[in-house]
């Protein structure tokens, strides 16, 4: 009986690989999603621009639609300070506080 070939992924698949029904494999493994608001009426919505071309123009329009069509109270726009930083580091606290 030969030895089994070991699994270098420890049984997990690729993150984000599509599953039937639209679910994404692995995204929820060990990570809880933040609570979702039931709707946006009266909410102040934070939008994080990633510095890509036209991201600001696009998110400005998204913000306008959230206020005009979905009842958001206001939009708080911020820009990533550096590559690969999920919430721009020190900006995280600022955004949460505001």
């Amino acid at each position: 009986m030969p030895n089994a070939i070991l699994d270098p992924a420890g049984g997990a698949g690729a993150v984000g690989a599509a599953l039937p029904g639209g679910a994404a494999a692995g995204l929820a493994s060990g990570a809880a999603l933040a609570p979702r608001p039931r709707d946006l009426r009266g909410a102040r919505v934070g939008l994080l621009m990633n510095t890509k071309q036209n991201a600001g123009i696009f998110l400005d329009e998204v913000g306008r639609l959230l206020v005009d069509s979905h009842g958001a109270a206001s939009v708080l726009a911020r820009t990533k300070l550096a590559f690969a930083r999920a919430g721009a580091g020190e900006g995280d606290g600022e955004g949460a506080a505001e």
């Binding site: 070939i5 997990a12 995204l27 690969a84």
Partner: protein, 355 residues
Amino acid sequence: MTEPDPDAAQQAIEYCYAQGWSDGLPLVPASRPLLDQFLAQTSRDPQEIIGTLEQTGRHCTVELAAINAAMAGCRPEYFPVVLAAFEALMTDRAARGGGFQSTSGPAPLIVINGPVRGELGFNGAGGAFGPGFRPNATVARTLGLIVRNVFGIRPQVLEQATQGIPGRWSICIAENEEESPWEPASVEAGLPEGTSAVSATLLRTCEFVDNRHTQDPEQVLWDFADTISRTGSLIFKETSCGVVFCPEHAQMLAAAGFSKNDVKDWLVGHCGRTANDLRRAGKDGLNGPVRLPAGQPGAPDEFSRILPSRQHVPVLVAGARNAAISMVVRVFGFWTGTAVAVETPAGALAGQASS
């Protein structure tokens, strides 16, 4: 020893491909006896978590790292270097915070210092950036397999590299300490001389500077400044960019009186572009830290520096003493200046005795 069975080996390799574990090249099929050889090289608990990617909720254990090292083609005795390299890379916030899935497709730069270079055969001389040397090639490849298999980040799924960069998962160099006029990166990081250690960061790319033309150190440094300062690489107001000097360039600079910090200070002071250059590329304005076209032209000759401090300019030495060819290494996030000591075989034996 019986002859290896090539047909069985081919079947095992194809099995690994079919599971989606490969980076495109054949993997060494890992088995329990091979894994045990890797785990015997460290005192660490196989289930110890050595890295977490918060955005995916995935954890890398010592055992999973060992399986990927085996599959990458490492010999078991490389495993303490793999553990140090992974720990060093994970000190880089860009690696923890989304760098592996970035459109930039950045590559780890792994730097080996100390006696382990000679003991295991890491190359830091001719062809330091590879290929041709098993320790360099397989330790770097291991990190790529960990990202793919353990963190689950695969190209065109969560990994969104627009083009990627040549050399991703293959850039591992030993410092040529014997021909460097300056202290090794590990000593600069605060470890005692003679310590085997690994430093790592993510790179956006490597670009050669070939200057065999002058013996004037400032002219040579200007040549580096030109490559470092090219506008195509500038996204934010500030950047981080290092140089892996070949021994000839390093020795010429040292002979002219430049310490490592003198070189860094010179580059900090001279790398940058004029407002006119930046305007030509649509990068003369700023929105916070991000460059964009300015509405109004400023003073055309106003000079903007791009390297804010010495720590943004890692300086290393590698390569052969046969030409004046060095490499500019464009840092993706920030060089932490951390060197992680490599566990010694004595440490592994002690750990096993106590467990």
